[in-house]
């Protein structure tokens, strides 16, 4: 794309040469990175100004040169200019990317482009190679550790995890904090990021601040990821086929004990054969019966010894990824066509996911002034997964270590595995659960885009853009029915064993469509020889429509038939929701360049939102930034041998953010309390009232930075500091229900973010065969909730459990708040003077911030000839997380915490008790807890309801990616007519996870969802590593 635009430009300005000519020089210009010809490269004669040409679509040039010509100057924007001696015979020039990137052209907001020198704000470019080097199937996953200021969290584990991408910290209390995703200038839902084929991406531009992205409108207040997909190349046709296999394996198991088996009695360790709790006697290797006798009288007998089946429960997953792409083009028309099929089998048995995508990108020049670009992308994905991951995981923990868990897979036929015969009286066989509580999901995405360009004059051009993004989805969730035998029920063991499973089914369909049109007019004109003005004015319209319908029924008539019609309940329940929201905007972008060292840039945008009250619909927000390239003007720097580039930049921004969906201005009425009854409607007024003057949230921010390149650009350093302030947050505030409503949606609250982002890249060693580069990025973010509202100092972002994620005035955000031990004034844990047991505080206390303050990414690439080794590692620190599933570890007795004192009575560490005589708290050195087993660890009051027990330092080091790639030498392929290149690769992702000892639970990246960062659940299966290999062949 970039090359295309530039070559167009050059073709137009080409002037014929009028010099006397004596001989003809011919040659080909190719790009060093991929060996493909580069069209539009300027080839000039050094000794005769005015003699020159540009390469054609096939990268070839032919130039008649005067007699005195000795040297050719070959230059192309973004590449290092080369001088070559004119020789006889064809010349091959291999262009090397200019590491001194000031002249690199990057895409900025609104689809505009600028050189890096012009940018007054921070941005990071991630190239295709870096994105696909570890063969992640999800683009988000491939960004980990590579971009300063970007924090990625896997919301979950599973076959296609979703990621939360946040730039420069969280700023909206309840609204969206995620970066905007733009693909080929089209704003797309962030779910597309998890579904787009990473192999289609040419580059990905991260605009860290709201200012850089302001032209995209209000959603850009959180920064943006701008993805440019691949385009066809002129003059060559290449086909690429590749196949990748990756295995997925659990790389971090929670800490489980393997000392004690089944039992649930306090004070005594008594073996109970059908018990889930593991507070029984220590393993002794003897033979023991498990469960209760079956109807046929049989009972299972197993050795009373711990085994590894809880680890073996997790399968080895497998992802197969098949890619095909074709790129072709001539002078006027280029196409890029690609297809990808990804098939994933997860670490949970029977969980499957597949994705198929097709893309066609094309461009055509109709005349010298009119051209078009278009793209169509179709993606479909299919999930077949269990809906009961969290119950399944809990059931796993409720399995004593002596149980041969993996032998219960065949729950249909094996008599000890059926719900009737399974040994555990209180918890279901996890294999049964994962097989019988399932979900089928189908998502189809179609995006299409057309750009039409008209360039009547060389300083003027117009662009019209229209695109559509649709998602069509359906899902079916079901729980199968199961009728227990009369024998099982008659045993009267538990409510689990006494009851049949009625089963249920729900079915839903939805679509969402976004239509978008945009018009831009661009003027790029030199006002004086030193002063250039580039102004773009634009207008856009956007319309989003969505619909969601669902039906559900309880009670299935037949086992294995999941149809709403085959139900036992009289009625089905159903729901429907529709929404339409629209936005229109006009905007302007002006860039003033003085010589090649001073750049001023201003943008302004006015949005109109359909979702806001009419009076507040319109919102204007401006931003300005400036860039000063000192090395291009200050003499002492110009001549410096050390400093190649020194650029200073600064910007100030305001961006509005509308965290308000459609129809959120008026109180609604709804059928409640069971209505309609007997065909009579009954509508109750809703409990939420709205500020009639709701307006958008506003984020204003300042950023400043330095870009430095040293020693022939072998060292580059970028540093950015920023401070943002978000005010007028749209927050539902609780109000007195006596007012008529219990919630009031209004503008209130202020959050500030300050931080620093640093990137350092270093080419440690380079010669003709070797290149060793090392890079790092470090981000520090500190945010603070300045205020929420007059009445409220805290907002809960999660509810339930012993700890909640909150936004609390005066603290950083998000924060974890939960119960702690009751402590005396010296911080010692108060225990009961009789029982020795501690207790929980009634209300929560602040436990700590859950967003990492420090994020460090390290990467390296070592190249030897065509062998390339790349690695990425990431560190996060300065935060805490909580395992909300931790109480299941202790309740069951599976958790390793529960054997801290070998199940014996122990003196609670750092404790004190109230001395009844003195009325003082005295240190407890001898009073032990009454019971160190089932009486203590499973107790909510003494242990499980105390959040601090499951709190851990979230710090970690992760080896995110290692890949080794080898291009077969061209010489080897010389004999093969069609094959242009063969690449072999081995890669691994998330290979190692290093955490502090206290983290015995899981990957701290996992979060509850939305803004509730900091709580992991049993809904997330253990973290995994991927490793495998791939082959790709270019024809």
């Amino acid at each position: 794309m970039k090359k295309l635009v530039l070559s167009l430009f050059m073709l137009l300005t080409l002037s014929a040469s009028v010099f006397a000519q004596e001989r003809t020089v011919t040659g080909t210009v190719v790009a060093n990175e991929d060996g493909l010809p580069v069209p539009g490269v300027s080839v000039k004669v050094k000794e005769a100004s005015g003699v020159g040409t540009t390469t054609g679509a096939d990268g070839k040039f032919s130039l008649r040169v005067p007699a005195n010509a000795k040297t050719l100057v070959v230059s192309y924007l973004g590449y290092i200019a080369q001088e070559l001696a004119i020789q006889n015979g064809p010349i091959t020039v291999s262009l090397v990317v200019d590491a001194k990137s000031l002249n690199e052209v990057v895409v900025t907001a609104g689809g505009l482009s600028a050189t890096k020198a012009q940018l007054g704000t921070a941005s990071t470019t991630v190239r295709a190679q870096e994105l696909t080097q570890a063969k992640a199937t999800n683009v988000a996953a491939a960004l980990n550790g590579k971009v300063a200021g970007l924090q990625l969290n896997a919301v979950s584990s599973g076959v296609n995890p979703t990621y939360r991408l946040v730039l420069r910290g969280n700023r909206s209390l309840l609204g969206n904090n995620q970066a905007l995703v733009v693909i080929d200038n089209v704003i797309v839902p962030s779910s597309i990021l998890g579904n787009i084929n990473p192999e289609d991406i040419e580059d990905l531009q991260v605009l860290n601040g709201g200012g850089a992205a302001a032209l995209y409108g209000s959603e850009a207040s959180n920064g943006a990821l701008i993805i440019t997909t691949k385009k066809g190349k002129r003059g060559t046709t290449t086909y690429k086929v590749s196949q990748t296999f990756n295995a997925e394996q659990v790389n971090f198991f929670p800490g489980l004990q393997n000392v004690f088996g089944s039992g649930a009695d306090s004070d005594l360790q008594i073996y109970t054969s059908h018990e889930n709790q593991q507070y029984g006697p220590a393993f002794d290797g003897s033979l023991k019966t498990i469960g209760d006798p079956l109807e046929d009288g049989s009972i299972q007998t197993i050795p009373y010894t711990a085994n590894d089946s809880k680890k073996d429960f997790w399968e080895t997953g497998l992802t197969s990824q098949t890619d095909f792409s074709m790129s072709t083009g001539d002078d006027k028309t280029q196409y890029f066509l690609s297809g990808q099929y990804v098939n994933t089998k997860g670490t949970t048995l029977h969980d499957k996911f597949n994705r198929f995508s097709l893309r066609l990108n094309g461009s055509r020049e109709f005349s010298k002034t009119v051209s078009t670009n278009f793209s169509v992308n179709y993606i479909q994905n299919r999930y077949n997964v269990t809906t009961a991951t969290s119950s399944m995981y809990d059931q796993l923990l409720q399995t004593p270590a002596q149980m041969p868990l993996t032998s219960y897979k065949d729950w249909r036929n094996d008599k000890f595995s059926t719900p009737d015969g399974y040994y555990n009286a209180y918890y279901q066989n996890p294999y049964y659960t994962l097989d019988n509580e399932r979900q089928f999901v189908r998502n189809d995405y179609l995006t299409g885009n057309v750009d039409l360009k008209f360039k009547p004059l060389d300083w003027l051009n117009f662009l019209y853009r229209a695109n559509i993004t649709t998602q069509n989805a359906s899902n079916k969730n079901w729980v199968d029915k199961y009728v227990r035998s009369a024998y099982t029920k008659a045993l009267g063991l538990s409510s689990l064993k006494n009851n049949d499973i009625a089963g249920n089914v729900s079915d839903g369909e939805s679509f969402s469509t976004q239509l978008f049109t945009e018009f831009q007019a661009n003027v790029n004109k030199s006002l004086t020889p030193d002063l250039n003005l580039n102004v773009t004015l634009g207008a856009s319209l956007r319309s989003n429509t969505a619909k969601n319908v669902g039906v559900a029924a309880t009670g299935l008539t037949f086992q294995g038939l999941f149809n709403i019609a085959a139900r036992t309940a009289a009625n089905i329940t159903g729901s429907e929701s529709n929404s339409t929201s629209r936005q229109q905007a006009i905007y302007g972008d002006a860039r003033l360049s003085y010589k090649n060292f001073l750049y001023l840039h201003a943008t302004g945008r006015n949005d109109w939102f359909s979702t806001l009250p009419i009076a507040n619909r319109s919102l204007f927000y401006p931003s300005v930034d400036a860039s000063f390239v000192a090395t291009n003007t200050l003499d002492f720097l110009k001549d410096s041998k050390v400093i190649d580039v020194l650029k200073l930049r600064a910007g100030y921004t305001t961006v509005g953010n509308v965290n308000l969906g459609a129809y959120s201005l008026l109180t609604t009425f709804g059928q409640t309390g069971g209505y309609p009854y007997n065909n009579n409607p009954g509508y109750a007024i809703g409990s939420t009232t709205y500020n009639p003057n709701l307006k958008p949230e506003k984020t204003s921010g300042f950023e400043g930075g330095i870009d430095l390149e040293l020693f022939d650009s072998r060292i580059s350093l970028n540093t950015t500091v920023y401070k943002t302030k978000t005010v007028d947050q749209i927050v539902p505030v609780n109000i007195s229900i006596a007012s008529g409503f219990s919630t009031y949606v209004t503008n209130t609250g202020e959050v500030t973010n300050t931080g620093i982002e640093n990137t350092l890249n270093l080419i440690a060693y380079r010669n003709s065969n070797w290149e060793v580069s090392i890079g790092g990025n470090y981000t520090f973010n500190n945010n603070k909730v300045v205020s929420i509202s007059d009445d409220i100092t805290r907002l809960n972002l999660s509810s339930g459990g012993s700890a909640q994620v909150v936004a609390e005035a005066g603290s950083s955000y998000p924060m974890l708040r939960g119960t702690d031990f009751k402590r005396d004034s010296q911080g010692r844990i108060i225990v009961d003077p009789k029982s020795g047991y501690p207790s929980a505080t009634e209300s929560g206390v602040i436990l700590g911030n859950t967003n990492p303050k420090h994020i460090l990414g390290l990467n390296t690439a070592i190249k030897f000839k065509s062998l390339r080794l790349a690695a990425v590692a990431e560190y996060r620190g300065g935060y805490i997380a909580m395992a909300s599933g931790g109480d299941s570890f202790d309740f069951s007795g599976s958790g390793i915490r529960t054997i801290t004192y070998n199940r014996e009575r122990f003196v609670f560490p750092n404790s004190s008790y109230l001395d009844p005589v003195s009325g003082q708290y005295v240190a407890n050195t001898s009073l032990t807890v009454r019971d160190g087993g089932a009486g203590f660890w499973p107790s909510a009051a003494y242990n499980r309801s105390i959040a601090t027990n499951y709190l851990y330092n979230g710090a970690y080091w992760k080896v995110r990616e290692i890949s080794l790639s080898y291009d077969l030498p061209k010489a080897w392929l010389a004999g093969m007519k069609f094959v242009k290149g063969v690449n072999l690769q081995a890669q691994g992702r998330n290979l190692f996870l290093f955490t502090p000892k206290e983290n015995i639970f899981t990957d701290p990246d996992y979060i509850l969802g939305n803004n509730a960062i900091g709580i992991n659940t049993l809904g997330q299966t253990p973290p995994t590593r991927f490793f495998g290999g791939s082959v790709s062949v270019t024809f």
Partner: protein, 581 residues
């Protein structure tokens, strides 16, 4: 270039002029943003009905009917009585949820307009639920309430002002109903829109007026000894109905068409204790047990009443074996019961559907059952607002010479009250009674099966010893059952309130605690740990002689968002409610 700008500006103007139409798409297609009183009134009445369960739950714990079941923890303030601002706040929120609906109806209708009957019904229902609220909280927002954005922080009105205001609303509602409908103008309330009275037919209006009169009587009874209200009681007395037939002649119930097949259409009391639509028993049913104190009113501990005992409780009088921590634990005579605060194993366990479901059915069959009597009858049972039994006991007290609010024979009212209690318990979920409808499920013997309810009542009165028992200080701790044996109005009052206590048992349990606070009956032996002498929790933190709490606290949200108005300095253990003795 200028031309270009002109084009652009023109384009912008075109764009913005079409802007309004393009952007006017914010009309909600999913939910109505306006509504009419005639479809809000039914939802409002059903919300009043569902609010009853949070009151009953509070009364169940503080009135001595419920105790903790074994196997469940986290009781905290349930048994210490040191309530926090989060405890029982459902009474506040569910009442105001209903009041907000009723206010919508009242604000969108007039006393003499076409929707006047909606207006009148909403006023009466609002007064009823406000009276419930004031009886728990005292001062509450009234004059500022329900004004939305105009009053986000409504002020609190004095309890006496609220009492006076809602009493006036009741009179106003009656007055509206006494003016005839105007042909072709007045919109009648249809039967389907009025799940309480059955519409604005003559019978429906009569029922509403009877209800209003009974609520008025109840308010005056409660206020009669409140100094701040003494003069108001004296003057308001005149507006009370004089004929017995002007008060409720049947239980005041709400029946919108509760269904056993749709989870959201279950009777709210049933969905608290019974089984859900998939046949799974609820946590509340499994974690709450009858108290030994309450059972003693039936099994001979204090009184003998096997008929109501069997109607009330599962396994009444039969031996129960429970497996607790691996050993069998035998309860010789059911139901399994506990004393609040007792938690040393073995603590009896509850059962699916709780011990207050006396039928033999379980799961979805129990939900759908219509012929089981008692307090938990089935998912389709109607929700009680005010029982006929309570009405009769109000009349009985009102007719005492020392009270003198209503004329009549106290003993007749009293015995009618007992009869009404039997009648209600004998009815199944379909609210029809056919003697002996529940014989099979209750396993009543022939001699225990009364041929008529009246015979049951007579047998009950005859079977119990009839002498008032007092403690050393002359405080009545056991009232007579046969009212004719009572010699003073105080003894009569003790008997009336004791019978009312049994009539509201797990139906409107909060009235048991209210009346205890007002009259001290049924009497408890303060400081005793004997589960039959007192129902106070073994873990009570209350300093009072009876070891019982005095009231609930205002909910936490009021302290957070209505800080300047919410009354402060209230203790759940020492601050008495306005009508407390």
């Amino acid at each position: 270039m200028r031309k270009l700008f002109n084009i652009f500006i023109l384009g912008t103007v075109l764009l913005t002029s079409s802007c309004k139409k393009f952007l006017d798409v914010n009309t909600n297609p999913n939910s109505p943003t306006s509504s009419t009183p005639n479809i809000v009134l039914p939802a409002a009445i059903v919300q009043v009905a569902s609010a009853m369960t949070s009151y009953d739950d509070f009364g169940g714990w503080t009135g001595g009917f419920k105790a903790n079941a074994g196997g469940y923890g986290g009781w905290g303030t349930v048994w210490t009585y040191n309530f926090t601002t989060n405890d029982y706040s459902g009474m506040w929120s569910s009442s105001f949820s209903a009041i907000n609906q009723l206010n919508f109806v009242i604000n969108n209708t007039t006393a003499d307009g076409p929707l006047k009957f909606y207006n009148a019904q909403a006023r009466i229902m609002k007064a009823f639920i406000y009276a419930k609220l004031v009886d728990q909280y005292g001062d509450v927002p009234y004059s500022d309430a329900g004004q939305g954005l105009n009053k986000l922080n409504p002020k609190y009105d004095k309890y006496q002002d609220v009492y006076k205001a809602i009493f006036a609303e009741l009179n106003a509602g009656i007055a509206i109903m006494n003016t005839p409908a105007v042909t072709n103008v007045t919109t009648p309330v249809t039967a389907g829109q009025d799940p309480f009275g059955g519409g604005s037919s003559a019978a429906g209006l009569t029922k509403w007026k009877q209800f209003a009169q009974t609520v008025k009587l109840k308010m005056l009874i409660r206020a009669q000894k409140v100094a701040d209200l003494a003069s108001w009681v004296a003057t308001s007395k005149a507006t009370l109905a004089t004929a017995v037939g002007d008060y409720l002649t049947d239980d005041a119930i709400v029946q919108p068409g509760y269904s056993a097949t749709t989870a959201s259409q279950f009777n709210p009391q049933w969905s608290t204790y019974g089984w859900n639509s998939a046949g799974t028993s609820t946590g509340t049913g499994l974690s709450n047990l009858p108290t030994k104190w309450a059972v003693s009113f039936y099994n001979g501990g204090k009184y003998t009443d096997d008929v109501r005992g069997r109607l009330m409780y599962k396994s009444y009088g039969t031996s129960i074996t429970q497996s607790i921590a691996g050993s069998n634990f035998v309860i010789p005579s059911g139901p399994a019961a506990n004393q609040l605060g007792y938690d040393t194993e073995p603590v009896p366990r509850s059962i699916s559907g709780s011990y207050w479901y006396s039928g033999a059915l379980t799961g979805t069959a129990a939900n759908a059952g219509t012929t089981v009597g008692g307090v938990l009858k089935g998912a389709t049972m109607p929700q009680v607002l005010l029982t006929l039994a309570e009405t009769k006991f109000l009349l009985a007290e009102a007719s005492l010479a020392s009270v003198n609010l209503v004329a009549g024979v106290t003993n007749t009212f009293y015995e009618d009250g007992i009869t009404a209690s039997y009648t209600y318990l004998y009815k199944g979920a379909s609210y029809t009674w056919a003697n002996p409808v529940t014989t099979a499920s209750l396993a009543l013997t022939a001699s225990q099966t009364p041929t008529t309810i009246t015979a049951a009542k007579t047998a009950y009165i005859a079977a119990n010893p009839n002498a008032t028992v007092t403690d050393g200080n002359g405080k009545i701790i056991k009232a007579v059952v046969d009212l004719s044996k009572a010699t003073t109005d105080e003894e009569r009052l003790a008997a009336i309130i004791t019978q009312k206590y049994l009539a509201v048992h797990m139906i409107n349990s909060e009235e048991a605690f209210n009346e205890y606070r007002r009259t001290g009956y049924p009497g408890v032996v303060g400081g005793s740990t004997d589960p039959i002498q007192t129902y106070a929790s073994l873990k009570s933190a209350a300093p009072a002689a009876d070891k019982l709490p005095t009231r609930v606290l205002y909910p936490a949200v009021e302290f957070q968002v209505n800080t300047e108005n919410v009354p402060k300095g209230i203790s759940p253990l020492t601050t008495k409610i306005f009508y407390a003795k």
